[in-house]
Amino acid sequence: MSLGFVMLVHADLDRASQVARYWVENGCPVVIHIDRKVSDAAAKAFAKTLSDLDTVRFAPRFNCGWGTWSLVKATQVASEMMLKEFPHLNHIALASGSCLPLRPVVEMIEYLSEHPRVDFIESVTVEDVPWTIGGLHQERFTLRFPFSWKTHRKAFDAYVRLQRRFGVQRRIPKGIEPHLGSQWWCLTRETLSGILEHPRRRQLDRYFRRVWIPDESYFQSIARIVSRQVESRTLTLSKFDLQGKPYVFYDDHLQHLRKSDCFMARKIWPRADRLYDAFLAPAERAPRKTEPNPQKIDRVFSLAAERQAFGRPGLYMQSRFPKDDWKIAKTAAPYSVFQGFTELFEDFEQWLAQRTGARVHGNLFDWTKVSFEGGARVVEGGLPASVNLRDSNPRAFLTNLIWNSRGQRQCFQYGPYDRQDINPLIFWDDNAHLSVISGAWAIKLFRSKDLDFNAKRREAAWMQSVEDDFLSNLRKAGLPARVRIWTLADFIADPMEYLQEILNEIEPNTPRRLAEAPRMVDLTGFGLFLQQLKNAGMKPYLTGDFPIDGESTEVKAALSKPYLVKADR
């Protein structure tokens, strides 16, 4: 007899009975504390299921509440009984009714006999503890908590605030440095009796009685002054979520639990039949000496906690609908918005698609149609090219498009002649990469054959005001969107340079020299057209300065070297 279990039980008694029997039959005595809340009849029935075993004892029962002293009290009483009744034990482990041994007890005993003087108790100073239920660290030990956090949260919080306000503090007993840690420890006989028979025990008990969640700090703190060697970890695998609630293990965790090589786990779902069957079955393999290795299963649960706290960026769904806040990503992946490029280049979309592997759509927000790449009627996710459905929620249309096609860069054309509903979204989205050639809409009008000059003039004035508004918003300081703006005249002066810049941005890891420019539209007479607009009283200032003869020397130069070869940048 070298290892004994103190077991705190409050529900699912049949499972607790199964586990207690397992330990006893494998040579470990068990002292069980049954919560006072369990009816006498149920407690009696439970005791009866273990009545054939010699080394089971039942401790006097207390009424236990979450995070209260009663849990420590119950543990103390049961531990005292354990030390008295079974004087030959070397180690005593604290377990709950929903603990399950994951490895044969022999292996645990073997492990402990190799560490005969070591106390396995997680015990961390308050400052270093990441879990902060209710936002309390050191204050757990210096304030008073007469109200239950679970049932009287408001009173609890108000009383904490009141004490902070008036600076009321309790004094921590001399020699005690508050430590926190998992409730489930495995202590040597010497340490446990050292704690229970501590000369200042009455004083310490009186102090810890009013500490918040003493079951996570009483043994953890006192062990530090009693123990010869504290190994600050627990042999019981248990994971807690952000609210301090223990994660539960189910049948589908079987393989993870096996591979963890931990000695015990908590807490097990009482109906996880496969787990109970698998781990309480007689060992089929020879005892192994392996260190516990819970990293893998830890990861499963830390991912879950992460998912709950941060979610998947850019996803809008039934249980994630973030407020419009600049700190929260609005879309799932980077995308590019091009304004003015299809006006200037005949085949810009094909050209870009060929060179980048990106998905290059046309004008997605045109008033009369939705131009997906290749004129598709439906794209990924079942997003239809429907103007009505798009307009009923343009933001959702764009965020859906980006979410649905994660893994492939999305590009689309935009212009002052499109609906402008999504502007606030793209301005405030750091995934948005906007490249704008201002005034390029004038080319569209210049080449239009349907409109007479007066209509063109009207349209020009309207587009210019829309684009002006767009640009003045875009130039505001501090926008997260990545923005490039050229005037039409500037862009034409060195298109290769700027196009290269854009390609590098879309595919930063494959720097490629730009060998072929897209075909620029014929701008003969464009300068004259701009002059006509001016003559008609409408000044197209967003285009930049164009000479009247239509083609400046710079433009000519640019157009005469479309096969410009540039050095890698």
Partner: protein, 337 residues
């Protein structure tokens, strides 16, 4: 939300409960096995009409999931629906010949039954063509989920309607009694849903999917709502307002995170588009017993009338399991692992 608004919602909730109370006489109990309901049992409530063909699979599905008792309201079926239901050992059955529309599409009846029998239980409200999928549903019974929610102080679980459809015309394949309807209607749209917040009840309003795409392009705002909160730890003071789209008190509708995190959610696979749908929509159009004077069914009938529509497209997803829905972002494990 101010005191006045809150009080107004309280009055509204009372009004729905009174309405449910008044409608109670429309229900005649013809199989009462409610004495079998034990503490902690999970209860399923459903209204149906002429759905005999769907029942065997429906019951099989939910029994395997761990539903303990079924409380059904039969609205004047004239096939063998009630004979079949009466024979089931875990069914309590009520009958009514009254108007489905005037009981607000069954909500009043079910509110009443939930008030009487649902108090303190996890209650699931699902039509016979709706199949709940929740995280880990292939390895963990429903009670694992409800236990976890109890421990997390969560009292309602959202599951949006995911419209399933076959490849090819809706009536091309014939559904056989007992068959898994998802063998035929195995496709869905993975990402054309629109979410917006309903300020009054605090729920998310979800529209989209194949129905919006195929039938409601001209009037997107009339497209059917897809948000549902079908699984609730019921109290007799609760009431559903409009189907299970929203409930009162409004805290039950706050099933989503607004600060970037994800909460737990599932899906209700909606196997409506089987060959049975074609005749049903003809019938329902004339009965005018559905929402908005069967506006939805009229829209379908208009489209169905000429040629059978094919809801399938090259980007349709074929249903595999809950993990697929999770990856696609239609549901979430939240904090559960």
């Amino acid at each position: 939300m101010g005191v006045v608004d809150r009080y107004r919602l309280r009055l509204e909730r009372k009004r729905w409960l009174i309405r449910a109370f008044r409608k109670r006489r429309q229900l005649t109990c013809i199989a009462d096995r409610t004495d079998l309901i034990k503490d902690g049992d999970i209860l399923l409530f459903s209204t149906l009409r002429n759905e005999k063909i769907r029942l065997p699979y429906f019951f099989d599905y939910y029994r395997r999931m761990g539903v303990n008792h079924f409380l059904m309201v039969d609205n004047a079926s004239d096939d063998e629906t009630d004979e079949w239901l009466i024979d089931q050992p875990d069914v309590s059955l009520w009958q009514t010949g009254s108007s489905y529309r005037r009981s607000r599409f069954g909500v009043d009846w079910l509110n009443w039954l939930q008030r009487i029998y649902g108090d303190g239980h996890w209650t699931l409200v699902a039509d016979v063509d709706e199949f709940l999928v929740y995280p880990f549903c292939d390895t963990r019974p429903l009670q694992a989920l409800t236990d976890w929610m109890d421990a997390s102080s969560i009292r309602s679980f959202p599951a949006m309607l995911l419209d399933m459809y076959p490849k090819g015309p809706i009536d091309a394949q014939t559904y056989v009694e007992g068959q898994n309807p998802m063998e035929i209607a195995s496709w869905f749209d993975s990402g054309n849903y629109q979410y917006s917040k309903n300020g009054k009840y605090g729920n998310l309003w979800i529209q989209g999917g194949p129905r919006a795409r195929a039938f409601f392009q001209d009037q997107p705002h009339s497209a059917p709502a897809l948000n549902k909160t079908p699984l609730v730890k019921w109290k007799s003071s609760y009431a559903y307002v409009d189907s299970t789209h929203m409930a009162l008190p409004r805290g039950l509708n706050q099933v989503y995170d607004e600060y970037g995190g994800e909460r737990m959610s599932g899906c209700l696979l909606h196997a409506k588009f089987l060959n049975t749908f074609v005749e049903k929509s003809e019938e329902e159009k004339s009965r005018q017993q559905h929402y908005g004077k069967s506006r939805e069914y009229k829209a379908y009938a208009k489209h169905l009338g000429t040629t059978q529509p094919d809801l399938w497209h090259e980007h349709s997803e074929r249903y595999i399991n809950w993990r697929q829905l999770e990856i696609l972002g239609l549901m979430s494990k939240g904090n559960w692992a």
